[in-house]
């Protein structure tokens, strides 16, 4: 997509790079530990120890370190607050903590026996945010994946369509060029005449300057408005051409062997996703676990790719630090919730370690919450893609 066009300015701050890497590393270690659990690698007590350690580090990072630094870098960008950076970052962090804590109220995620400083308080809230994110992305992914990869949906794009659009684009550029030349020429003439006008003194000079033709500035503003409109048009035409090119490439790709293979996979997973949408539990637990694992891995891959594209699209030299940290926060919460949700699909014998480590959370709530958000997200995506698909062919028909 066109959005991945710019190279973001380097993230210079060493601390940002470190924080992101640490978040990613400890997130991945959690999955490693689940695999170790299933395969029986390492002593069970040492596994438990590593689980706890990993969890504490990740919570520390997600609740204290990352939000604080996000506040710090946001405050650094605002000139007014820059002097008292540390103070305002602490204010931002306390605000974050307040809302984070308030998150516990509307959701029945804790049983009353949990103390106020227990780890369940923190995990439960992180879990809610992360599960919501996961469900949103999975719902969209479940709909978008078949739409993107199944050739049934690909609009038919020919070379002449593209050439025609390109011709229009270049014609628009030519019009912009000729108008800008006129502006430059007029400005030059005005400048030269202005010099002469300055030399006109006295009564007759005044009369002369009043009666000379007013070709200058009124014309200029009219032409400038035309230029602005044409430039907007050229941008739209450029984006449309890119879109057509991308579609054409996708069509070509779908004819290759690799493309056909992924197309088949797309059909397979589409059916599974549709099945999940209608919540039919037909598969046995172990197969379900593997498939959910695959979906989670691909959705994490999809998440990282989407986050990267998002980052490229909106970053600038000022905000790249903040954006990387926000992405680290999202990624960390997403990973923690993955573990929460995986428990549902794990065979019974492995569920105990997750329950032991994460404490007695109301896991059922998370599953139900995930299903609700997944359904909402999937249905909205269907609606959104339907509208987008319907609208697109009409755009290209006005040639």
């Amino acid at each position: 997509s066109y959005r991945s066009v710019s190279i973001p300015p380097q993230v210079r701050q060493y601390v940002v790079q470190v924080v992101f890497s640490v978040t990613f590393a400890f997130s991945c270690t959690m999955f490693e530990l689940i695999i170790f659990e299933i395969l029986g690698v390492l002593n069970s007590t040492s596994r438990y120890f590593h689980w706890k350690l990993n969890l504490y580090v990740i919570l520390l990072v997600l609740i204290f370190v990352v939000p604080f630094y996000i506040g710090y870098f946001v405050v650094s960008n605002i000139r007014l607050l820059q002097r008292q950076r540390l103070l305002f970052s602490c204010v931002v962090w306390f605000t974050f903590m307040y809302f984070f804590w308030k998150l516990g109220d509307p959701f029945p995620i804790l049983s009353p026996k949990h103390g106020i400083l227990s780890i369940e308080q923190l995990i439960s809230r992180v879990g809610v945010i992360g599960v919501t994110l996961m469900a949103l992305l999975s719902g969209f992914g479940a709909v978008n994946c078949p739409y993107t990869y199944m050739s049934y949906f690909l609009r038919n794009v020919t070379d002449s369509d593209i050439l025609a659009l390109e011709r229009r684009l270049l014609q628009t550029m030519d019009m912009i060029v000729s108008k800008k030349k006129r502006i430059a020429m007029t400005r030059r003439q005005m400048y030269q005449r202005g010099e002469e006008q300055n030399k006109q003194t006295g009564f007759w000079g005044m009369i002369k300057s009043v009666t000379s033709s007013p070709s200058g500035s009124e014309n200029l503003s009219v032409i400038q408005q035309e230029v602005d409109a044409l430039e907007e048009l050229s941008r739209q035409l450029f984006l449309e051409t890119v879109d057509l090119q991308a579609t054409k490439e996708r069509i070509e790709y779908s004819k290759t062997f690799q493309g056909k293979y992924f197309n088949f996979l797309g059909y397979f997973f589409s059916i599974y996703c549709v099945w999940k949408i209608f919540m039919v539990k037909f598969w046995s637990q172990h197969i379900s676990f593997i498939l959910v694992g695959i979906i989670i891995v691909t959705s994490i891959r999809g998440l990282l790719i989407t986050l990267t594209k998002f980052f490229y699209a909106i970053s600038s030299s000022k905000s790249s630090n903040v954006i990387v940290l926000v992405l680290a926060q999202i990624m960390g919460m997403y990973f923690v919730s993955s573990v929460l949700l995986m428990r549902m699909s794990m065979p019974l014998e492995y569920r105990t370690i997750v329950t032991e480590v994460l404490g007695e959370l109301q896991f059922n709530f998370y599953h139900r919450w995930f299903d609700v958000i997944f359904l909402v997200s999937a249905l909205s995506s269907i609606l959104f893609l339907y509208l987008a698909h319907k609208q697109a062919p009409e755009k290209h028909m006005t040639l």
């Binding site: 066109y2 190279i7 300015p9 050439l163 014609q171 060029v177 035409l237 030299s317």
Partner: protein, 233 residues
């Protein structure tokens, strides 16, 4: 489309190096107040007095085509922006002096525009011999502009200037280092202004006064605007 009267210069470089600011400075003699991401291509016109101060002085309107994007863009974006590379009479390569990667990316940028690389994959060219070979036969005048010069601390300036000297040797091009927010760098009479003037004079000379007519459209892209094939469909 009267291509006979046109002098077209491409302005290439990574996103965020300051191409729009440079173009604005060159064409409007003003600092650009609100730079924003360039979508597609933005064009501006520079009024240039060829052979200023001599009897052969003549005014030309040089088009500066500022093509946005990065060397790592999707291939659909690269195919689309290739339409802007037709009938090019000169190329200005812009890089950020505080960002080494943007300087290295000028190699794939120039190759993409000069159409010698049939699959611009964005691989950074770092081997010196490879560069010389590519640019030895190039007849399109090139100019290097380095931006954000004011953000280089004093003690690093020599290293940066050495690096850009290598670049300018590789591209066989003059180099100008400036700060886009300060028009003083291009003040009339300064060495930068002289280099700029010389570059545009060279572009116009190659365009209008060259004896070899085949050099007029030296780098037309292979598959663009082949109207004959369009009608045969």
């Amino acid at each position: 489309m009267a291509s006979l009267d046109r002098v077209k210069v491409l302005v290439l470089g990574d996103s965020g190096v300051g191409k729009s600011s440079v173009v604005h400075l060159l064409c409007q003699n003003q600092v650009l107040g609100n730079p924003s991401w360039t979508v597609g291509c933005s064009v501006d016109v520079r009024v240039h007095d060829y052979r200023e101060g001599t009897p052969e002085e003549k005014t030309y309107y040089i088009e500066l085509w500022d093509v946005g994007g990065s060397v790592g863009s999707a291939s659909s974006v690269k195919s689309t922006r290739a339409v802007f590379y037709n009938f090019v009479n000169g190329i200005i390569l812009v890089h950020d002096l505080t960002n080494k990667k943007s300087s290295q990316n000028l190699y794939p940028w120039s190759l993409e525009a000069l159409s010698k690389d049939s699959s611009p994959t964005g691989i950074i060219v770092s081997n010196g011999d490879y560069d010389r070979e590519q640019f030895a036969e190039n007849s399109v005048p090139l100019l290097l502009i380095g931006t954000k010069f004011d953000q280089i601390p004093e003690n690093k300036r020599n290293d940066v200037l050495t690096r850009t000297a290598f670049l300018s040797e590789d591209f066989n091009a003059e180099e100008i280092n400036l700060d886009c927010t300060n028009p003083r760098y291009l003040a009339a009479g300064s060495s930068n202004a002289v280099k700029l003037s010389r570059f545009f004079d060279k572009v116009i000379e190659k365009r209008y006064f060259t004896r070899d007519p085949s050099q007029m459209q030296s780098f037309t892209d292979r598959r663009r605007f082949n109207f004959k094939s369009l009608h045969n469909d």
